[in-house]
């Protein structure tokens, strides 16, 4: 793809028109500055965005965010809305890590008063939040309990003493997606999930303690309980092996479904089925069950993080508590109503590496966020800043209520390992006052900040484009990685 193929709409918005390829059903709309676009065209992500426009039942545009990068099938950083009920749902356009997302907890603990305890905190977080390849979680569930988790998500955690009502209220879908169908999840997926709940996993997943570095929107920050100089915790993970298996199962099954429904696609990873077909309904039920597993997983990890905070700070600091700011999903398919060409349309919004960013007054937000809009949590690359934003009215009309999800990779994992040594990176981060607990040094090198775009530029872009507004910038002080 060349920049000449794109039509510039504004300083931060570009379009790939449908005449580029005859099988495109809708155009692509990209949010990026020219500088970011020049990085984006170096991989195959825009070709993948064009492939995504061939999904039957699409409305509006396929939207891509400034953190877009090459994935498999659907690009990471993509949003596509298909009309309900005849449009399709595509497991590959949601991803293997169903409901991968980020939870943000915040405290009133001032970093300066707590700096001496950061080492203890890092050790306890690492102890109570299992991480690493295939690691078992905090608890083991029997078959019946797992079905409860799949049906109820964080509500199961609440009933079992791992969550507060406030946690549920400040989670997308209140932590429990309706319409989950545990019976549509294979035994193999359930086997993988039974032992992994309450664990972080490996790859780019992490737990990070951050300090609120800068506030850009006092009213929104106060509403969220974010105070300059105070500690926060981000938990980034998803549905673990259970979600991976659900997606694997349905991508395999949908290879036949596309023939049955006469759907022609440029890439088999995009396989899909109409939402009102037996195959589409089965996947929708299984995907929602996996999403509930992910909500419960992050809830258990939040519970473990609170335990680490309590043991570290309770002897000395009276208010050591971690309250929930919000929990967002960035790999998910959701039924929502959006305005398309002046008409309200019920659609399935596929977000893969894109965050829901509902504007003020949107349905489903807790009362305190109705006025400011939904918190949008953007984790940066390891050792760099993360951001808290809010959704806007413009995100509702221009990006199906969506924004970016992170910095976005620019360098392959193998290249990162060639250029960066894990032990040196750890030393460098420690020198900057960041405590690191990492299961694998090569894994650490793969996630080096130089392998990612500059998260600040990504956030500036969505902010200038108007699809999210800046609230606060966070700086890391402790990083736990699998």
């Amino acid at each position: 793809m060349n920049i000449e193929n794109l039509i510039q709409i504004s300083e931060t918005e570009w379009e790939i028109p449908t005449y580029i390829r005859p099988d495109m059903r809708v155009p692509v709309r990209l949010f990026a500055t020219r500088e970011l676009l020049e990085q984006i065209i170096n991989d195959k992500s825009l070709e993948q965005a064009v492939n995504a426009t061939t999904l039957p039942g699409l409305v509006g545009h396929v939207i891509v965010m400034p953190d877009i990068h090459q994935g498999y099938g659907f690009p990471i950083g993509g949003v596509a809305a298909t009309e309900y009920p005849h449009g399709v749902i595509s497991p590959g356009a949601i991803g293997y890590d169903i409901n991968c997302g980020v939870r943000l907890l915040a405290s009133n603990i001032d970093l300066e008063s707590a700096r001496v305890e950061m080492d203890t905190l890092a050790t306890l977080l690492n102890k109570y939040c299992p991480s690493g390849v295939g690691k078992a979680g905090a608890i083991k569930l029997n078959a019946k309990e797992l079905d409860h988790v799949l049906r109820d998500g964080s509500r199961w955690a609440f009933k079992n003493g791992y969550a507060s009502e406030a946690d549920l209220a400040r989670t997308e879908e209140a932590g429990s997606v309706e319409g989950a169908a545990p019976e549509r999840v294979s035994e193999r997926a359930k086997t993988r999930g039974r032992e992994q709940i309450g664990s972080l996993g490996a790859g780019n997943h992490f737990i990070e303690v951050d300090v609120v570095d800068q506030i850009f929107n006092e009213e929104a920050a106060n509403t969220m309980g974010l105070y300059q100089g105070c500690l926060t915790v981000q938990i980034h993970c998803g549905s673990r092996g259970l979600g991976h298996q659900v997606c694997t199962d349905y991508v395999q099954q949908f290879q036949n479904a596309v023939h049955k429904y006469g759907i022609v696609l440029p890439d088999r990873e995009l396989v899909c089925a109409p939402m009102d077909s037996p195959e589409g309904r089965a996947y929708m039920g299984a995907m929602r069950a996996a999403a509930n597993f992910a909500f419960a997983n992050r809830q258990l990890l939040a519970h473990s993080a609170r335990r680490a905070f309590e043991e570290t700070f309770a002897p000395r600091i009276r208010n050591w508590h971690l309250h929930q700011v919000y929990d967002i999903a960035h790999n998910m398919g959701k039924l929502e109503t959006h305005e398309v060409n002046g008409k309200k349309v019920k659609v399935c919004v596929h977000r893969k590496g894109a965050t829901r960013a509902f504007g003020p007054g949107s349905p489903g937000l807790p009362p305190e966020y109705k006025k400011i809009g939904q918190p949008v949590i953007i984790p940066g690359s390891m050792g760099t800043a993360s951001w808290v934003l809010v959704g806007t009215e413009e995100s509702m009309t221009r990006s199906f209520g969506s924004s970016c999800h992170g910095a976005g990779r620019v360098m392959s994992r193998s290249q990162a390992k060639k250029e960066v040594r894990g032990d040196e990176l750890r030393k460098e981060l420690e020198k900057r006052g960041i405590k690191i607990r990492a299961g694998s040094l090569p894994g650490l090198a793969e996630e080096a900040p130089s392998a990612y775009k500059d998260v600040d530029r990504v956030v500036e872009t969505v902010s200038e484009a108007g699809i999210a507004k800046k609230v606060a910038r966070l700086k890391p002080v402790v990083v736990i990685k699998g």
Partner: protein, 132 residues
């Protein structure tokens, strides 16, 4: 017979080639183990059999490699000895392997992204993208 890693921004991509289809399947499994940095105890002390049906060879390859991902994550087992039989749309693999002692990197899934097994002058080749 061999494999090489292909640059991919977020995930892993590997090109695999072999003189025939059964060898291509076995080499793909070895490539996956190599990318993941899988280390096992010495010797091939364990045997397992995998059977599957799919409309085409690509479907059989994804099913086979997905089975190995499952074994690695759930049972902590890896295999490097394979006797592969492919008849029409059916696959049977007798596998020999051992307990894993360490893994550098978890593979979440084997994808169909641009997956095509192609006949070449020397045999067969394909490029597989793994979600990591």
């Amino acid at each position: 017979m061999g494999f090489e890693e292909i640059s991919h921004t977020a995930d892993w991509s590997v090109r695999v080639w072999a003189q025939d289809l059964p060898s291509l399947f076995a080499e793909s499994a070895r490539a996956m183990n190599s990318l993941a940095g899988t280390v096992t105890v010495k010797g091939r002390s364990l045997k397992r059999t995998f059977e599957s049906e799919a409309p085409d060879a690509e479907g059989l390859l994804v099913a086979f490699l997905s089975e190995l991902v499952y074994y690695q994550e759930q049972e902590n087992l890896a295999f490097d000895g394979f006797e592969v039989r492919i008849e029409s749309q059916r696959l049977k693999v007798e596998m020999e392997g051992a307990q894993i002692t360490s893994v550098d990197k978890a593979i979440k899934a084997v994808t169909y992204h641009n997956l095509k097994i192609e006949k070449t002058n020397e045999g067969f080749e394909t490029t597989i993208v793994f979600d990591v």
